[in-house]
Subunit: 411 residues, 2 copies
């Protein structure tokens, strides 16, 4: 899909298409942080970057033009949700995801594995993140995990679907992202070492099958492909997984699965894993996006982040602010904001903060007005986007560590 | 608020402020249709005009900039809803409605009477429009209607409120619209002639009290004031009401209340009433906005229209189209649109039609994505706005009747 730097040109016979290119432009001297540029068929992506979620081919409540105006360069869509509705055949017939959602920037699709397994294990992200929760009663959503793949029941209509490494690559190819991701099993926190080990090894075999399926795609429409490191919270498994995947010809690498029960454990897992990944390839920390975690991930040399936090919390009236004492968030529906005519964040120049008051957003949320969700989402997406830009600048200017400490505090 | 054509200037001592001015620019020769310009403290409004509803200080799912980009010049906000939440005191402390919602165009507030009485009579608009429905069981929302005013229970928290002609004017003054409207009783369709007569006479006494309260407002912040003709579906009562109100110094006139059980009866009621209203003042047909009704109302010499239809139906996936055979609407969630990559309406140049397909909107509505509501609302608001602009042009060019017949068909 991308050839010799010219978007949209098909490679000549015998030439190898290059779906993405990654350039590292600056390295921090005090930490592992780096500033890079990911060249995709749909424009460049400056890293470290946070990609907002466009789960069902829309960043909830926003339009592509909102994202363009903010300078967003890449979004993340969800293979699982789009496979169930409207289906990859439909998206393909309508010209692929970019045309379907009218998005000119880059798109990364996840593999669907996270959703399938997180539903299957009885809860969603909390379980993967190690927070204990009882499994849901009733029929499991995941019916069967075998060497071949995973069989699950659709939450939409109860129909039964199978996701294999091969179908996962085929589905993503039909969706048409710039970057696709391999199928992996997201092992939950509360399983044994032995289960995690066996699962991680199967994930490795699935990664190889994904690569083989990927190699068989038509060169001119083949997306880039990222591998995913698993291994739970076990150092030896994480290191083995990172080394194994690093030996395969992926265009980039994700760190996925259970990252532990708290920040400390997560930071450990990433600290073991990141250094073993190829230096010259982009690294994606899947599902991570809290303010502290973004700083910390960048410090560890991670390049790409995604998380439901900014958009999901926005829908519940939680707005990001540059105020450490408030843990960087306010609940706009709280009574204290009823008459507050200041902008959501005094240092923010997003479309919401430029024109609307906290009191107005308070009113909209108290009355369940959709406009409130839109204004809150605009703000939160811009806030994180702007924070990443500030981190990049601080790396270029050699003051990332100071910036981080000033922002988060030393406590 | 408006003086000698210069927005925002305060009148000199002894001079009379002019809140609005109305100029009739063109008259149709075949019908009573006319093209006018309403000058308000917040800019001109070209008539005939359709004012989208900003019930709770937002056109649901849209931002002021969306409306500005479409060329919307006036919105209608709701006294009843804003009185209950956030309260007129709050709006006033935050600088009035324009500042609160960051809207630079004109605002018309209704009196709240419609909401209070339509809730009180056991159902909402359908009852006023003459469609039979049983009254709701349990406590009535309207507790008491007396000569003084109406006492009702808040749907928000059960608290008891009274709305009198004086408080209605005071509340609207605090909200700060360009145009306020008198308190009236909206008599439902299924009441006796005698009740309607007594109620209409009380509405007239309330109109005089509203004028008196209005005259006592500070001149520099006094909005324009419109009277409302009542009288149910009874010709003599409607004519008497129109004549009575026409004799009072209102800045404009609304036709309100029950307009009958079907279009024929509504057209009759308006046909009796409109000719008796002062020729040189703007005329507002309250709550009317179906495609045929807009054409018909314009033909009868009405200047201002408002209706929940375009915005409410948008939220349910009903999109307006210039296709008579479809009765000007499609249900975008219908299976027929799943693979339809054409725009919602082939003749529309709204932000939705310029960039998105029916298939994409279909997908968004099938998945309850908020973005779908936003795209549908943008389209419907623009569609009606654009239709009114086309009607104005056709009047200026002396071909309104032909335009109407071509659009609606002669059947």
């Amino acid at each position: 899909m991308f050839h010799a730097g010219v978007p949209g040109t098909r490679p000549k016979e015998g030439e190898q298409p290059v779906a993405i290119q990654f350039q590292i432009l600056h390295r921090d001297t005090e930490t592992k942080a780096r500033v890079g540029r990911l060249l995709t068929p749909h424009g460049p992506v400056d890293t470290p970057v946070f990609t907002p979620l466009a789960t069902r081919a829309t960043v909830k409540s926003l339009l592509p033009q909102d994202l363009e105006e903010m300078g967003i360069q890449m979004v993340l869509s969800n293979t699982y949700h789009l496979h169930l509705r409207p289906g990859e055949e439909t998206v393909a017939r309508l010209g692929g995801l970019h045309a379907f959602m009218s998005w000119r920037g880059a798109i990364l699709t996840d593999s669907g594995g996270f959703q399938v397994f997180s539903l299957g294990h009885g809860s969603v992200a909390d379980e993967i993140k190690g927070k204990a929760r009882p499994a849901r009663e009733g029929l499991p959503q995941v019916l069967r995990i075998t060497e071949d793949g995973v069989t699950f029941r659709s939450y939409v209509d109860g129909s039964i679907h199978e996701l294999t490494p091969e179908s996962c690559i085929r589905i993503q190819h039909q969706l048409g992202p710039d970057i696709a991701v391999v199928l992996d099993e997201c092992t939950p926190y509360h399983v044994s070492y032995d289960y995690t080990q066996a699962s991680t090894e199967r994930t490795h075999r699935w990664a190889e099958r994904c690569l083989a399926a990927h190699a068989n795609l038509p060169a001119e429409s083949r997306p880039a492909l990222f591998g995913i490191v698993q291994g739970g919270v076990h150092r030896d498994l994480r290191e083995e997984s990172a080394r194994f995947l690093a030996g395969l010809p992926f265009d980039g690498f994700c760190i996925g699965g259970s990252l532990g029960k708290d920040k400390e454990e997560m930071y450990q897992v990433v600290g073991w894993t990141a250094p073993l990944l190829p230096e010259d390839k982009p690294r994606h920390l899947l599902g991570i996006g809290e303010i502290e975690d973004l700083f910390w991930g960048v410090e560890q040399g991670m390049d790409i982040f995604d998380c439901a936090m900014p958009t999901r919390t926005a829908r519940h009236g939680t707005l990001l602010v540059s105020d450490r004492r408030r843990r960087w968030r306010i609940g706009i529906a709280n009574a204290e904001f009823a008459l507050d005519d200041s902008p959501v964040d005094p240092h923010c120049s997003c479309p919401t903060c430029r024109r609307f008051s906290r009191a107005y957003l308070h009113h909209l949320f108290r009355n369940q007005e959709i406009t409130g969700i839109r204004l809150a989402t605009l703000h939160n997406v811009y806030f994180v986007h702007n924070l990443m830009a500030a981190m990049r600048r601080s790396i270029v200017e050699g003051r990332f560590k100071r910036f981080k400490e000033g922002y988060l505090g030393r406590d």
